[in-house]
Structures are given as C-alpha cells and as structure tokens.
C-alpha cells in the first residue's frame, strides 16, 4: 500500500525532467550505446516480465547475488593483509582484527556473511520448492542451482580453516576425515584435500586456493549459467500460474521488483553491519594440534550433519556418512525429473512438501540434540565454556607481532650453544652484519654466510678471517684481529648459521 502512494507521487510532474539536459545526455548515451549496445542489454535485463507482478517472495535470488558480491569485495580486501601459511595465517588474522583500521568490522562482515549466505540459500531453495518454481522445463535451472548450493557450502567449509585458530583447525580436521570414510578411494581423497596424511601448512594452502580462486571462479560461471537459464525459462510467477505458458498479466522487473530487492539488500547489510559492530566475530588462540582435549564444533549450519555422523560408528560409517547423504542429495537434485506434474500449489503436493518439511525438521532436531548433548554432559559443557573463555581472552590481549626467522634463529642458537651466542655478539660488535646481514642473511655488499659450515671447516674459516683471500679483499673484507677466544666464538657462530 505504501508503494501505491509512492507511485502516485511518482506520476508525471515537472520534477521528472532529467537533471542533465536531455539532448546532451542522449548524445553521450548514444555515443556509448553505439559502442556497447548497453541500452538493449539494460532493457533486456530490466524489462524481464514477472507474471502476476513483483513480490517480496522473489527477493532471495538477487539477495544471494548481492551478498556474494559483498563477500568477494570484503574477501579481496582481507587478502591485503592475510598470508596463507601455517606460520603466519593466525598472526595476520590477529593483525587484521586487532590492529588494522576497520579490520575487525570487515572480517566480521565477511564471516557473518557466510552465515547470511547459507540462510538466504535455504530461503531461496525453500521458496523455489514451495512455489513449485522448478517445474515446467526448469530441470537445468534447478541443477545449476544445486551446483551453486554445493559450491556455497564448500566456500563456507574452506573459509572456516583460514584463520588457523583452534576451532578452525579442529573443525577442519573432523571435516576432512569425513571423505576418508569412502571405501577404497577415501584415504586418497582425504590426503588430496589435506595435501598429506595430516593437517598442516599444505592443507591451508589448498584451502586458500580453493576458497579464493577455484570455487569463486566456478560460482561466477554457474551464476551466469543460472541467470541465463532463468531468463530462458522465464519467471514462474505465483503458485497458481502455469509455469510454461503464463496467463496472468505480467509486470516488468524494473522498477518495482528492483526496488523491493534493493530494500531487502539494504536490510541485510544493515543487519550484518549491526552484528559486525556490536558482536565482532571472534578469533581464538592459534591452532595447537597437540591439544588433545579440544572439542571441535563446526559453524552452526554444519551442526546437524556433525550430530548425524555421531550415529554411524565403525563399519556403518560408510552407510551414514556417504550413502545416505549421497542418496538424499541425488534425490534432491533430480527433483524436477521425478516430480513431473504441473501442479504447483503446496497443499496439492503432500508427498513432496511433506518430505521437504520432514528433512528440515530432522535437521533442526539434529541441531537441537547436538546442543542438548553438549549442555547435558558436564565434562563437555565445562570444556566448551573453557574454549569460549580462551577465545575471549585472546581477543582482549594486545596484538603481538611475530618474531622474524632471523631473530628466532639467533634466539635458538643462544639456547643451543653459549659459545656461538657469544660469537654472535662478536659478529655484531665487528659490524659483520653491516655487509653480511643480520643472521648472515647476506646483502648486496657481501654474500650470505648461512650454510657456510658445509664449505669450510672451523680451521679454514679461522684462517680466512685472519687473512682473507684476494677475492674477499677486493670485495671490501678486511683481516680480523681478534683474541683466540673471540675468534673461536665467531667461527662457532658462523658455523651454526643454517
């Protein structure tokens, strides 16, 4: 009704005149249009007919596209600081969260955005299902949607590991165990995903590449295909409409549906923004694979699957983990092939709608049972609270920069060999590092000394330092006059550089 009032205000009035004079605008647009064909593309996009008119029920598809673009943008920006390596991933995410301006906000938008995508995906599928919008020559449209569904779940799974904190590490360890249950090729698939038998830095590289390159590329491709197939089939319209040859009067996509979609997108970004601002997404302590007490729990949308897996121990695992979900996924994907009737009203399709509702209730039930089990087991409850507390404590600690490899090497050599540690002081006091670099890492002025132990014995090194070769002298090296003790310490240090 608000809309009706709005359109009345919109009626032709002097204010409707374009801000840019029409002649100039037309000339500019004409120049552009002759080279791009933009006008016909825009018309084709915006004049898409919607039988029965624009509705709020149709917003979820474009909302998914909107949130996906938001994920792409925030993801690109997060990559400005992120490093995908087991050594640095956690430090860089902590840096983003604790140091970089707006870092916690952007990371939260991205992390909560994944939940938003899963929710919108479920709403989009539910709307399509309840409206019977998959019927009438829409098999490929439905199948491309199923692929997008799987790809979005893969995005959520691969993105979860990237911060390399405790919950990321352990949830992914469990998650990558699941394909290991497949007979014969299971262990092979698991190793392929992990980049080895165990989780490690290669796992992180693989998940990163999948998360930022491979899966997004596939999503872009399948979105294009999905939209193309959608336009081929046309909008299915309301539940009492014929999905093949619509009979109800139609309304173009622009302006009303566009405005409804835009308002919904605005609502989503406001909700995400409020969550990101008032409840920043947490980062826990760095992953410690040796922590055997850690209880892995996936993100909420994977909890029902997580609970389901508990019921299939040992030899039955294959049935519960692979066969049953596989059959359900197959039936789900082949829905438009199985359900060939043109009837779209939900109350006339009791079997299909009943099955859908049952699966949803079962997933809700599994989720609820999982939370109840955790709550009722005192040991689990205490451990989960302790884990939550550890994450909160970590969030409150100031950012601690990572010690560079050269600094670590010198700290370690001091621990391992006190003579070499004294040699390092001689190395610095003689300003050897001015040319040969800190930790013997080399500079343009002089070669690196790391690994020199393999080329010279201690005696040879001592002799070279006391009287450098002609080549060394030409490069600016001068003879060292040191006490025997200092020389021995320096040589011990140089030989410790590995």
């Amino acid at each position: 009704m608000i809309w009706k009032g709005y359109t009345e205000i919109m009626s032709d009035s002097p204010r409707d005149r374009p801000i840019v004079p029409r002649a100039r605008r037309t000339a500019l647009f004409g120049w552009f249009d002759r080279r791009t064909g933009l006008d016909s593309v825009l018309r084709k996009a915006l004049d898409e007919p919607i039988p029965g008119g624009a509705r709020f029920a149709y917003v979820f598809g474009s909302a998914l596209l909107f949130i996906f673009i938001s994920q792409v943008i925030t993801g690109i920006f997060l990559a400005l600081y992120y490093v995908p390596s087991a050594d640095h991933a956690h430090t860089t995410v902590a840096y983003i969260t604790k140091e970089v301006t707006s870092g916690s906000f952007l990371r939260s938008i991205h992390a909560y955005g994944s939940s938003a995508m899963v929710i919108l995906l479920l709403l989009h599928v539910t709307q399509t299902f309840l409206y019977g919008s998959y019927k009438g020559r829409r098999e490929l449209l439905w199948l491309s949607g199923c692929v997008l569904f799987a790809l979005v779940l893969c995005m959520a799974f691969t993105g979860y590991l990237l911060p390399w904190d405790q919950k990321a590490y352990f949830a992914t360890a469990v998650g990558t165990n699941i394909p290991g249950e497949v007979p014969l090729i299971g262990p092979w698939i698991k190793s392929l995903m992990r980049g080895g038998v165990e989780m490690g830095t290669l796992t992180l590289s693989r998940f990163f590449v999948a998360h930022v390159l491979m899966i997004p590329a596939a999503i872009f491709g399948f979105i294009a295909l999905h939209v193309y197939l959608f336009r081929m089939a046309g909008s299915a319209g309301p539940i009492d409409e014929d999905p093949v040859s619509p009979t109800q009067p139609s309304e173009p996509f622009y302006p009303r549906q566009v405005v409804i979609d835009a308002l919904f997108a605005l609502a989503i970004i406001i909700v995400l923004g409020l969550f990101a601002h008032f409840m920043p997404f947490e980062l826990g302590p760095k992953a410690n694979p040796a922590d055997t007490r850690y209880l892995p729990r996936p993100e909420w949308y994977y909890i029902p699957v997580f609970q389901w897996l508990k019921y299939w121990p040992g030899s039955l695992a294959f049935l519960g983990v692979v066969v049953i979900p596989g059959v359900v996924a197959f039936l789900f994907a082949s829905l438009p092939f199985l359900d060939r009737r043109m009837e779209r009203r939900p109350w006339k399709r009791p079997v299909a709608v009943g099955t859908y509702v049952f699966i949803f209730l079962a997933l809700f039930g599994l989720g609820a049972v999982s939370y109840r089990d955790d709550h009722n087991n005192p040991g689990y409850a205490a451990q989960l609270i302790a884990q939550q507390k550890a994450a909160e404590e970590f969030m409150h600690q100031p950012f601690e920069p990572e010690l560079s490899q050269a600094s670590l090497a010198s700290a370690n050599s001091a621990l391992a060999d006190p003579i070499a540690a004294r040699g390092e002081k001689v190395y610095q006091a003689q300003s050897c590092n001015a040319c040969h670099g800190d930790g013997g890492s080399g500079t343009p002025a002089a070669p690196k000394l790391i690994g020199i132990h393999a080329r010279f014995s201690a005696d040879q090194l001592t002799a070279l330092l006391r009287s450098p070769s002609a080549k060394m002298t030409a490069g600016g090296m001068s003879p060292l006059e040191l006490s025997a003790d200092d020389m021995a310490a320096l040589v011990a240090y140089l030989r410790s550089l590995k």
Binding site: F77, E99, L106, Q248, V258, E402, S407, G476
Partner: protein
Amino acid sequence: MSGREINISASQSEPSRRSYVGWLMGLCSAGVGAALSVPLIRFALYPLTTNTTETKWSDVGPVSDFGAITTPVQRSVTVEQLDGWRKTISEKVVYVTKEATGRFRVLSAICPHLGCSVQWAGSKHQFVCPCHGASFETDGTRTGGPAPRGMDSLESTVQGDRLVVRYHYFRQLVPEKEIIG
C-alpha cells in the same frame, strides 16, 4: 507470451516515471555504496595513517651511567624493528658521547666508508676504523682517512631516567647522511 509483450509496451509508455525512479535509485545506491566503501577505504589506507615499519626506541642504559663520561662509551643495544605483523630483534653496537653542552650524542659504530666496525682508540683519543684507517673525533667528526663523512649520529632522547636511541642503517660512501633502514 502475449501477456508479456503487452506489458513491455505498456511500460515503455511511461518512461518519465521510470527515469525518475532510476535517478532516485541511482542516487540512493551511490549514497549507500559510498557509506559502505568507508570501512573498505580505511582498511586499505591503514598503512598510510599508521607507521607499520617503525624502529622502536632501544634502551641504552640509565642516564646515571653516562653522567661523568669523558671519553666515548661502547654499548650494545637491542633493536626491535616492526614490519607490519612481524618484528625483527637484533643487537647493534653504539657509542655514547657527551657534547660540550652536556647533551648526549649516540653514534652508530658502522663506518660510513665501507661498513666496518669503528673502534675507540683511547691512546690516540679518537675513533679509528680498523679496515681502512678512517679517523674521527670524539663527537664523530671526520679527521682523516677515506670516509666520505663523519660518524652517523642516531636520534636519541632521555625517557624517565633511561637514555634511549632509535637505531638506523645509513648509506655508505656518500657525503650526506641518508637512512636506508
């Protein structure tokens, strides 16, 4: 199909309303887009507004240690250099001297000629580089040898009762002092 065609032509008959909505939506989208890009821009420009590659102040020692010095004193300082999310810790050698006015002057021990470690030669009451014989006065001024400039003084200050210094490397073989890291 016919229903669609009728409707498209109907929609084209009211272009002014559509263009008005278009302008309004474009304006709103631009506004919302601008608001959303604020955190993105702030995020990307963080290294421009904050020093992400700074060298922290290094402790040289309590001021009382240097109150009565008449000749330069050698000290080893721990230098912490920040580089984004990582830091490097290293040991460097400096000399603490006192100017005629009583102010402290902290000199890098690296010779501006070829980077050898300059030593204090107490008997000659001057700094001498053992490599190529460059010599410097107590305050680091060049007195002889191949060095193109005097010894490099470092930024130093007194914080509480401690003398602190900000360590840097300087380009060698050039007459003007120039920080390189």
